[in-house]
Symmetry: C2
Subunit: 202 residues, 2 copies
């Protein structure tokens, strides 16, 4: 008869897996993808390096899970703001501000998600997530056009532009230690985004 895990064992393994993902996320935020070795993650989680492989077949698989969880939270938060109350233009502006502020409050992790050189499997995830950002922006731009608040434009192109622009604008600030310029940066970033979508200057 094949060995079967008991419900208690399954729960324990799931808890260890979640603990590993949390620890790996912190390690990546602190030292970046390249330095986030299986050993470093195992040390941080207080388990043997070999045990990591009980949960993830490779370092790349663990990195992909870290990326998906962390990037997924940011997509969800942005989606909530973009689909929340307010006019499409207000939601766009507010969504970008919230996204950028969260990134600037967790620079190490945001840099890893947005820009840091990483293994190809993480690069593939990054492309997937950018598609999700584009879809969110495209919807709010469409609503803005329908409401007569934004001029006629190809919403897909504007959405892609916003996705790429926001990420690139944040790359250098995320790599810098100083936080004094946050408010000015957020004001410039949202102003640029509204220009890009053709919203009248406020």
């Amino acid at each position: 008869m094949a060995y079967r895990k008991t419900p208690a064992e399954i729960r324990r393994l799931e808890a260890v897996r979640e603990h590993l993902i949390t620890c790996a996320t912190s390690v990546v935020a602190e030292v970046g993808w390249s330095q986030a070795s299986v050993t470093a993650v195992a040390d941080s989680a207080g388990i043997a390096a070999g045990s990591v492989y009980q949960h993830f077949p490779s370092k790349a698989a663990l990195a992909v899970e870290v990326f998906r969880r962390a990037a997924g939270r940011e997509v969800d938060v942005l989606g909530e703001v973009l689909n929340g109350p307010g006019s499409p233009v207000e939601r766009l502006s507010h969504g970008i501000e919230v996204f950028a502020r969260r990134a600037l409050e967790n620079r190490g992790l945001a840099y890893a998600l947005l820009a840091a050189p990483a293994e190809p499997a993480v690069g593939a995830e990054r492309l997937d997530f950018r598609r999700r950002y584009r879809a969110l922006f495209a919807e709010v731009v469409r609503e803005g056009m329908a409401a007569g608040l934004l001029p006629s434009q190809n919403g897909e192109i504007t959405a892609a532009a916003l996705t790429g622009a926001i990420g690139e604008v944040l790359v250098d600030p995320l790599g810098a230690p100083a936080e004094s310029t946050t408010d000015e940066l957020l004001a410039e970033l949202t102003a640029m985004a509204l220009r890009c979508a053709g919203a009248p200057a406020t």
Copy 2:
């Protein structure tokens, strides 16, 4: 006495190295980074795989050289247009059109340069080159403001936004086979970029 290469040997080695880079660039354009193995490049160049390592210590080193050469050409072409004749706004619009048209005419290579998941060493090059694009755009935006053609703005942020926006707008078209939409895409892309920089609608 240490063995010294003769001038003829040095020239021959340099010629083989250049041939390898040319062949590797074609292989990357055709099959992407992940499939461009040392064996595939050696086959394409008509030499033994082991000989590749006489010229490049690793596949990553060869990939970095392929990236630098190809991306360097695009930066140079863009720089020529952005620093060429015409008003700053005309140069910006024309530069983006030339950049995008060249990318759409060599989709495989452009996708590899701009977006395709690649090893971390290539990712680091990509960040470096994006800085060069940003510097070029920042200069033309500054000139546009000085000439009173663009509204007051943080030119560095607009330059980063343009760099990120153009790359992201091109990702999906570069991955698609159809070329029928090129003119419409170029028109929408340059319109978006001019809005982003605050140029009056034309």
